[in-house]
């Protein structure tokens, strides 16, 4: 799949933003006043910034409001609702903390649940794609949610929780890759089922329908990332989990180390999310003799 920068930025940044909102919603850290303001501002910058970035890949962003209409069937529509509900709920909860020094517990818990629900709906947009076997698995929402919660813990300064959750997210990430590498072969789709000519003999794509490229090849048959996949995976897991862990464990833990840990984690998540798209094989590539 074509790794569109807007979608990678959106799902990585808003994943961390909604993760932080979830932690703030359950009162960890229990901040009020100006400190709360800074935490909420950071969370909103990440979450809303990501959402705005996601509209950049639309052909008609001016019609984006129509995307709220089909929540009965469409995960993208559900994501729109969940994100707005989470942001509004957390805004009311945050206003209580910042301006009135009051913690509205029910609102916070609801907001935390809605924040994680938003991350789940984002993941489900990809998970539902049977055409992309690498995504069509329970590992995708686990991967998105574990990264969001771990990144949120890191941002929320929950050092012990962050260390445990980072290790967990790293394990889920490796399991996701392991399963993903076998997904296309296990999907049962190949050139024999695509053309239904398999019973006659071995099928080979002889000539594509066009001499140039097209939308389908640009969007679905992206092969550049695969050559360096292993190196990029090592880089992703190092930046996402190992380096932040080392920084959190270092005896001279202070704000600079924490900031570095966050930046390293974010860079790792972006690398992992880039691979999530660049490595994903869409079955339409089979018709072109590619994957």
């Amino acid at each position: 799949m074509h790794p569109a920068p807007s979608v990678i930025l959106f799902s990585s940044l808003s994943g961390m933003g909604f993760g932080l909102l979830a932690w703030l919603g359950i009162g960890l850290p229990a901040v009020t006043g100006w400190v709360a303001f800074v935490f909420f501002a950071l969370a909103y910058l990440l979450a809303v910034g990501g959402l705005i970035a996601s509209t950049f890949h639309l052909g008609h962003p001016e019609r984006a409001l129509k995307a709220f209409s089909q929540w009965r069937s469409s995960w993208l529509s559900r994501e729109a609702w969940a994100s707005v509900a989470a942001l509004l709920t957390m805004a009311a909860y945050g206003a209580g903390l910042v301006f009135y020094d009051t913690r509205l517990w029910p609102l916070g818990l609801l907001g935390a649940a809605l924040s994680l629900l938003t991350v789940l709906t984002t993941a489900m947009i990809y998970t539902q794609m049977k055409t992309v076997p690498r995504w069509h698995s329970v590992m995708t929402p686990l991967n998105f949610l574990s990264l969001s919660i771990a990144g949120g813990a890191l941002l929320a300064g929950q050092v012990t929780a962050a260390m445990v959750l980072l290790v967990l997210a790293g394990a889920v990430q490796i399991a996701t890759w392991w399963r993903g590498d076998r997904a296309l072969a296990a999907s049962g789709s190949d050139i024999a089922t695509a053309t239904r000519l398999g019973e006659k003999g071995s099928v080979r794509a002889f000539e594509p329908p066009h001499t140039g490229s097209n939308y389908l090849l640009r969007e679905f048959v992206y092969q550049i990332g695969r050559k360096h996949a292993l190196k990029l995976r090592v880089i992703a897991i190092t930046l996402m989990v190992l380096l932040p862990l080392l920084l959190l464990l270092s005896p001279v833990f202070h704000h600079l180390a924490a900031a570095l840990a966050v930046l390293s984690h974010a860079a790792g998540v972006l690398t992992s999310r880039w691979l999530f798209f660049a490595q994903a094989e869409h079955v339409v590539g089979i018709y072109y003799g590619k994957r």
């Binding site: 890949h57 129509k66 069937s73 049977k130 055409t131 000519l197 006659k200 594509p208 329908p209």
Partner: protein, 254 residues
Amino acid sequence: MTTLPQQTDRKLGLVIDLDTCVGCHACVISCKGWNTENYGAPLSDQDAYGADPSGTFLNRVHSYEVQPEAGAAQLVHFPKSCLHCDDAPCVTVCPTGASYKRVEDGIVLVNESDCIGCGLCAWACPYGAREMDQAAGVMKKCTLCVDRIYNENLPEEDRQPACVRTCPAGARHFGDLGDPESAVSQLVAERGGVDLMPEQGTKPVNKYLPPRPRDQLQGPEDSGEIDVLAPFLAPIDSGPKGFLGWLDRTLEKL
């Protein structure tokens, strides 16, 4: 609503005969012609006369080589457009309701004024039947020429999809695949028509007729067929003539 109808009154679709298709791409051209001049945004081209031409098409013809375990390889031309699936995954993913499947005839369409161009429907389609138009920023797909098949301003023989009307080999058939008595359903039953990628669970309406076995290349003597006139048609002298003949005879003598 982008939820799919429980069932449709009719199942209009295409039957494509892989035995007959000669790979001339006339259906591709007539499709692009009709659909760029009529309903919806035109099918744009980018850099059409430059170094990297590319454009939107609703119908494309692949070619595949099939090599049996024994015998000669066979070339199969393979036209592919929207299959108007019963369980169309492209419809349910649409966040705006722009994509829908019609209850009256099962045609899957895009309401272009509602399309935000997010591309999810193209992601959900295993067949590559949907293409985002780069100029209009909306999703384009086969409409089964909905503006021809019901169009009373056209002569009756033209009220079928442009690709079917134009096919010089008669490899494309249009009709109601929900009616077991229809000509297309009979054809599918007789020739063993199949679904593409059935494992994807899309339940396509369009069907593909597999190519028949080709004539035996090894000739009648191997296949046991006897033709009483064959001796009269056998070549009398298969050797080369003229200069090559002289060369052949001279070299033979050496």
